[in-house]
Symmetry: C2
Subunit: 387 residues, 2 copies
């Protein structure tokens, strides 16, 4: 077997699901603020678009997807970022962004060669597990990029030595788990480095539409004036439109990389059923439901922010996404996230220890305010008692 | 970029689609007997099962899938092959069998090491393109296994030298493109070799339900008495239930490999939407629609067999699947499949030149009798004129 498999950490969410199932089996009622899985309804017009597209006879979907879907994505990018992307040149649909993230490395990596230094993939030291797992499984070295005091991956850590073997830099804003948003200049700096050292910047922007102040910038804005050279963005309808169940997202950026994907991805089995693509067209064409969803999250978020402020608990970063990045209180034993999360779960409140994402998170927990408002109120009441 | 990408052949079906689109744009009406994409309706009860499962709020599906789906697959395997497979130990759902085929190699291959002989994947010399492309992209050497006079991959070609570096042997019966069916003993021989040389036997059984005489044996029957050791089977609803549009299949076999897949596949983004899994449960639980579909194909098949017999054109193998493997008539220039197929397309009839699948197919065309009976009659009339 691939020797990298033995080096994979257990897949966190699979593990967490098993733990929660075991608690529920013991009769514990759990308020689930752990996994970032939206609980609100997929808007009815999107479900209806899917159902209307279930035709009596279907056909193999293609990896390039329906022209209507690529067009709807291009139009959305133009409205959202005020840049122009050509649906035939810069855009591909994804069968959910996770497969697209996972399937990037095998395009860019040569595979290992004994006796030579392995190729490197740079990943923020706190990050979604798939970036690193894909690098490992495809025989690259995953290099954790340290986060600076402001929770931004420190681009200065990309030294000439690392740059020489770096194939790919992963970014993710609004960030999971910290909720941090990056300024436009940060993306520009990353692309400057990419040009200098000849690597790709991959930006996972799954949470781009979950913001509470102003829309965060994205890599496409920084990359458009450069012809999207060395930039690749992944986005999804999962969070924006409560469509985790549908598996639909997009890939946009570097025309040469998109050209290669158009050649390779039909072999990967990643084409999305056309009835889902039709639902996706409807979803990308509408912003009203996204505004409504943002308003729902904003209401829940404020509940927790008020409570933590009242209790003197520090909330850091947490500018976007549906996460709060909460510092474990000084009064908690060892300020240890794992023990603190275990204490909360005894009271029925599930949050993720930040250590889950990397050692740098050991004094933080991630609270995903995805349950409905009444459940958020219950959670606030629990925190009010425990803190 | 991955250097293997430059060595990939164009993806045949993408290329074919472009060629057909260009002919249609010129106003040519094409009868499509090229791609093996079922044209008949997905049974209404399956579509209804999907629609009933589109709930207002959905969740992330899991790679392990719904217990109901694994159970329905296990029950189907038991009915079909009279063997017992444990849904928790031997079975996983696939997001269409193509992704599962593609994603097998990265589990089994180490990746290349400079200066050592590359690991090998053995593939029938005429085969579906994905087996070899996945091997290449994951840095293995794809070794074409010669077909014997009876169109079976010659297992004697697995010499000790090849065996020493062989990680995986691909089989596919009923075969694409030849329609050949293998006897049970052939699978046993393959598993004996796998034990001797320590490789896996992967069997793509996408066409297992399309037969015209008796149900063909499958690898699971040969592997069950061995605890499914070193065997992995891929099947799909695409052909059996006219569900190419849905992307739903399964993986079954070796418990250790399934255990590894349960660990790795959640990271690959291959979970299938639950509404599709619900449709799949309905499909695996019913055989009536499969019998009806077989009858439809049998009726079309006989039309062509009669015509070819009448014209003295040889049809070889062609025991299962919806393919006829037709020898280019002696009278055709150079007995060349490519030129013969081009001549047919000028008359509006699309078939695939066998050379598409490998040099061994250069005197054959593959005719996929997927269009409805009236279109088959038109195609027969064209062949009657041209031959």
């Amino acid at each position: 077997m691939n020797p990298a498999i033995a080096r994979l950490k257990p897949y966190a969410f699979t593990q967490l699901g098993a733990q929660e199932a075991s608690l529920r089996a013991r009769g514990v009622r759990l308020l689930k603020f752990g996994v970032g899985d939206p609980e609100d309804e997929t808007p009815a017009f999107i479900r209806e678009a899917l159902i209307a597209a279930v035709t009596p006879a279907g056909r193999y979907p293609t990896a390039a997807g329906l022209p209507e879907l690529r067009g709807a994505i291009a139009a959305w990018i133009s409205r959202r970022y005020a840049v122009t992307a050509d649906p035939e040149v810069h855009i591909l649909p994804a069968n959910g962004s996770k497969e697209a993230l996972y399937n990037l490395a095998p395009l860019l990596l040569d595979g290992p060669s004994a006796g030579t230094t392995p190729q490197a993939v740079a990943i923020p030291e706190l990050a979604y597990q798939v970036y690193g797992d894909s690098a490992l499984l495809h025989h690259a070295e995953a290099i954790p990029l340290p986060l600076d005091g402001d929770w931004l991956p420190d681009l200065n850590a990309i030294t000439p030595e690392l740059g020489a073997r770096l194939k790919l830099l992963w970014l993710n804003f609004p960030n999971n788990p910290t909720g941090k948003v990056a300024p436009l200049g940060y993306y520009r700096d990353a692309l400057d480095l990419a040009d200098r050292y000849n690597f790709y910047v991959a930006s996972d922007e799954a949470y781009s539409e979950l913001w509470y102040d102003r829309p965060p910038p994205g890599l496409l804005q920084a990359a458009a004036p450069r012809g999207y050279h060395r930039a690749v963005v992944f986005n999804t309808l999962s969070k924006r439109s409560n469509m985790t169940a549908y598996r639909s997202g997009f890939i946009a950026g570097d025309p040469e990389l998109i050209r290669v994907m158009k050649n390779v991805r039909p072999r990967m089995g990643v084409a999305t059923p056309e009835f889902i693509q039709r639902a996706a067209v409807a979803a990308w064409e509408d912003e009203t439901h996204v505004q409504a969803q943002r308003a729902r999250y904003a209401e829940r978020r404020v509940l927790f922010l008020d409570l933590f402020r009242r209790k003197g608990v520090q909330v850091e970063a947490s500018e976007g996404a549906f996460y709060l990045w909460v510092r474990v209180p000084e009064t908690a034993p060892g300020r240890d996230a794992q023990r603190f999360a275990e204490r909360l779960i005894e009271h029925g409140l599930v949050v993720l220890p930040g250590s889950f994402f990397g050692p740098r998170g050991r004094e933080y927990v991630r609270l995903a305010f995805v349950p409905p408002l009444d459940v958020c109120r219950e959670a606030v009441a629990i925190l009010d008692r425990v803190l």
